[in-house]
Symmetry: C2
Subunit: 233 residues, 2 copies
């Protein structure tokens, strides 16, 4: 059965790639920078997004697509900001899909006002395996790794750590209370994905939030440049 | 494509159930109590297992099956104990399977000396979605929830929290350093799975470890009773 699952999954991944291509074309046509935001459950994605939105909500036009197995807990948290929030439950899958795939994102696109958005953040399902396997064709992937997880997470989940463009090392305010070797984590990260940029963050104390916002600003910048060019044409 | 994945997955789950039945027959024939040990990545499964093995390694005959996407980091940690450790990498799946299924466990059974074991602990892949969907036909499921994750995890991952027989609420030594409402977590747990037993644990301070060991002892007890009866027959 194992081999059978693998073969089917390969077909599914091919189909996923085709749809992902269509998504990417839509993102690019509207000039919306799309960030796929991923982590294990409870690593602090929503809190880090809240802190960024506090700073950026009146500065950029931002959309958030919230992927969850069930419920709209995160979407409710985000909806107090001046952003366009869309909830996507993966529950129709068998017992709940463990990731967002291109088709799920595609099904939500009709509800997302892409044309007005400079930045779309897709908060993926909390999971360190499958979200790395299904392409959405986002422009960048951000992975949150909490220091309350083990130092060996990059080695245990190399696909996820290799596929990302930025790592937010979160909950660093807890470091003094943990038997956690940050240098060991960073060495493991470097082994799996040499030179990937990272930011030490704490959603609680605000550490690293300005750098995280600056990174998001740079991602959204492309659309501004394009529109400015169009206005002057 | 989404509907197609669901249909295929249903077939796969049917096949999985058949193999799971064969596993269960083997477990029961040897009188080995089998515990499926699950959590999000980094919640502390391996540390809690280490603490239990310190106490139980010379008291019970124990086997550990370590499921990981890649590597044998956890198996190496466990191998210093007087237990039979088997490593099962899910990597042959597409980019790494995110759970153990019945067939993966079956493929490892030839390397596990079931006949001599009173207790087999299967440490599943760190994931709060898929391990709840694939039956192994273990005798009991234990879920580790770390207080560094959110209070709303039971509501976000109801399948996992509903399917378990015991919840270890881990890393409680960090409670004083967190904005975490334990009562809220327990209320959410009760909403999803009323009256499920739970133990507050800290692998670091040892809190709750004796209760965790006692629970494992009770699970392994069945085989002892059977063998004692056989010896006196």
């Amino acid at each position: 059965m194992h081999g059978r699952i693998v073969r089917i999954a390969t077909d599914a991944l091919d189909a996923n790639d085709t749809i992902a291509g269509a998504n990417r074309a839509d993102f690019d046509e509207h000039g919306t920078a799309v960030v796929n935001f991923m982590s294990a459950p409870g690593a602090g994605k929503t809190s880090l997004l809240e802190r960024a939105l506090e700073v950026l909500q009146h500065e950029l036009s931002i959309g958030v697509l919230e992927g969850d197995v069930q419920g709209r807990f995160d979407a409710d948290r985000i909806s107090r900001f001046h952003v366009a929030v869309t909830q996507l439950d993966t529950d129709p899958g068998f017992g709940g899909e463990c990731h967002l795939d291109a088709n799920m994102v595609r099904s939500a696109l009709s509800e997302i006002p892409l044309d007005g958005l400079e930045l779309l953040v897709i908060e993926n399902v909390g999971n360190l395996v499958c979200p790395g396997e299904f392409k959405i064709r986002e422009h960048a992937r951000v992975l949150v790794a909490s220091v309350t997880e083990g130092e060996d997470e990059p080695l245990k989940h190399p696909l996820m750590f290799r596929a990302c463009d930025l790592v937010l090392v979160n909950k660093v305010d807890l470091l003094t209370h943990l038997d956690y070797d940050l240098e060991e984590f960073l060495a493991n990260l470097d082994e799996v994905h040499p030179d990937v940029p990272y930011i030490l963050t704490s959603a609680r104390t605000g550490m690293g939030i300005e750098a995280w916002c600056e990174w998001l600003r740079a991602r959204a910048g492309a659309k501004r440049v394009r529109e400015r060019a169009r206005a002057h044409a």
